[in-house]
Amino acid sequence: MKYNIEGLEVEEKDGEMILNMGPHHPSTHGVCRLVLKLEGERAKEIIPVIGYLHRGVEKICENRTYPQIIPITDRMDYLSAMNNNLVYCLAVEELMGIEVPERANYLRIIAAELQRIASHLIFIATFGADFGSWTIMMYGFREREMVLDLLEEMSGARFLYSYMRIGGVKRDVSEKFVEQCKKTLNIIEKRLVDYENYINENEILLDRLQGVAKVSAKEAINLGLTGPNLRASGVAYDIRKVDPYCIYDRFDFDIVTRKEGDVYARVMVRIDEIKESIRIVRQALRELPDGEIRAKVPKVIKPPAGEVYARVESPRGELAVYLISDGKSDKPYRIKFRTPAFANLAAFPHFNKNLLIPDLLLSFASIDIVMGDIDR
């Protein structure tokens, strides 16, 4: 029997079964649809179908003035709204040649790193749900809640912050925030040990994670994997080090890598990255200078004609924006987001052939996709 899946012909032979997993499925993290060609429980072919969350963000942006675009970027990768804000603001600032004040830069880094911690925590939480441990899920959300409290203290919002502004940030932070932040980081650092122990001292879990869906360094580069997934294969590539933005070059932190390239490595890289982020936030809190939080920018933002490409390291990998201004209007001529989850999902079918459904779903969870980021 032949099926037409989004214009792709798929043939179902004897002994095979086409299974539509999603768009409504507990483990497809949002509205991703995986069309699996199964032989028994083994997936011979994987076809990801996307577009169920498409809102036309790039087109909407063409009809908004520059400051109005910031809240829209929140809604792309909703688990790392801070990084989306940041990359967009960086692009506009570069185009207009705006110098961001020192304190604003520190606040940006604090916000972005806290966001990374929150995002990785939610990864661990949902990953726990996928391997059947609801306890880990609850624990992950518990810690994330504390980080969200911090971000709320910073920006006034818990989820879609719109915290970054062109030329700085929205609000200043108080002494109280600094104290609260230090306390929270200490708690999270302690609880991360529990997470590591849970994974490393559990035979059943190690059996499930190790050696599943392996990607070698060369493969990972060829497939275009990005972010923690790339680093889990042993490629030390992090935009914060390779092409430092804001003032990341002043901070002392390491690129976390793992050699194994399997699901286990992808989980452990994220846990270790939380530690590095805690290091960065601590340094930033220590050195946080006084001063302005926003540069002087014109009331109507009208960048000169030109094009710019800005990129940041979001929790999911290389997040970039390509912006063209025609110099005549206060709206961008064209804006294009290069989102990391899209690159990761595109690579996914190539390194997961012939896995059983449970392994496949764990591998799917381990690349940490966010559908809002993919469909935009």
Partner: protein, 360 residues
């Protein structure tokens, strides 16, 4: 009038048997259902505590009425049968599941002398019915005409082949020790003492056997880490994906009854049943005050309470395991059962046989 009726029934052997059967049968169904309702509440509370949250606390004191509220909700639900489903089998599956889950209780004593059918091959009957419980799962999975249900049912069938043999072999160890298939005899055996102090519970004589039995019965109840047939994050809900309303409730009931059954069996076979050190003194003390029928009822109530308390303790361990461990890898499970648990069970059986031959 009533007295005459009672007299008539008492005088007629067949009528007496039937009425006794009806009363005890109703009691067992009632008991199993109440136990299940209570268990769902306990499970949610225990899970919540382990998850660092509160669990149900709105309906009634400590949320105790939550199961009733859930039941009321399920009754109101529309009873959906999918268009492409096999209507007859789809409807029969929950009924069978419930029946097969309740039937083993007929041969399981609830107290000393309180039993529906005192079979001398009780264990054989219980094991046979326990292995039948796979049939409704396959029926439900097939009749739903849903790919997830089918995958769940196939997993259940494949898994059933793996855990059934170690389960039965571990029970055989107990049978060898006691020398009887009758559950009464097994419990009676355990009421004695070793050196006059240690109760002769079979767990002390058969620790390895109990381990095998316990691990295999977790799979029999299809709970994490062996909940392949319904692993919710992979197969939505496995074989009961398409079920709703009371049909779903029946399947859920059956599953929890399996849990009650498994822990009851563990109590009867390994933990001395209604026996508790010191309980004998209390009973003989009570015998001075109460006479005949009243004494029997009180004795039954106390012994039944002991069994339930022990069973609840085992169920707590099951919940604890479920909340702590992740789901095992699909193709590691048969390996684990065939390569490790089955040899363990065989070794246990061999050692027991030699010991029984030498000692007894």
């Amino acid at each position: 009038m009533v007295a005459e009726l009672v007299d008539y029934i008492m005088s007629n052997k067949i009528l007496l048997g039937i009425s006794k059967g009806v009363v005890v049968g109703l009691f067992i169904i009632l008991y199993a259902s109440l136990m299940v309702l209570f268990l769902t509440w306990v499970e949610r509370k225990v899970a919540a505590r382990i998850h660092v949250r509160y669990g149900p606390n709105r309906t009634g004191p400590y949320g105790l009425l939550q199961p009733l509220a859930d039941g009321a909700k399920l009754i109101q639900k529309e009873d959906i049968i999918p268009y492409a489903a096999d209507r007859l089998i789809f409807t029969l599956a929950p009924v069978f599941a419930f029946a097969f889950a309740v039937l083993p209780f007929a041969a399981m004593p609830l107290a000393d002398g309180l039993i529906l059918a005192d079979l001398n091959v009780a264990l054989l009957y219980i094991i046979a019915l326990a292995s039948l419980s796979i049939i409704p799962v396959i029926m439900a999975g097939w009749a739903s005409n849903n790919k997830y249900s089918l995958l769940g049912a196939m997993r259940a069938a494949a898994l059933n082949l793996s855990y059934e043999i170690p389960l039965v072999l571990s029970i055989m160890g107990v049978v060898l020790v006691v020398g009887s298939l009758n559950v009464f005899d097994i419990v009676k055996y355990q009421t004695e003492y070793i050196f006059g102090i240690i109760p002769k519970w079979i767990i002390i004589l058969q620790p390895l056997g109990f381990f095998v039995f316990f691990v295999a019965s977790i799979a029999e109840m299809s709970r994490i880490p062996f909940d392949m047939p319904e692993s919710e994050s992979e197969l939505i809900a496995g074989f009961h994906t398409e079920y709703s309303g009371m049909k779903f409730a029946m399947l859920l009931f059956a599953e929890y009854i399996h849990m009650v059954f498994g822990s009851m069996l563990a109590v009867l076979l390994f933990f001395g049943g209604w026996h508790l050190p010191g309980l004998g003194y209390v009973l003989s003390f009570l015998e001075n005050f109460l006479s005949g029928f009243a004494y029997t009822v009180v004795k039954w109530a106390i012994q039944f309470g002991v069994i339930v308390a022990k069973a609840l303790a085992i169920m707590f361990v099951l919940m604890w395991i479920r909340m702590t461990l992740p789901r095992a890898r699909l193709h590691s499970i048969p390996t684990f059962y065939w390569k490790y648990l089955l040899p363990l069970a065989l070794i246990n059986l061999g050692i027991t046989a030699v010991a029984v031959a030498v000692v007894g």
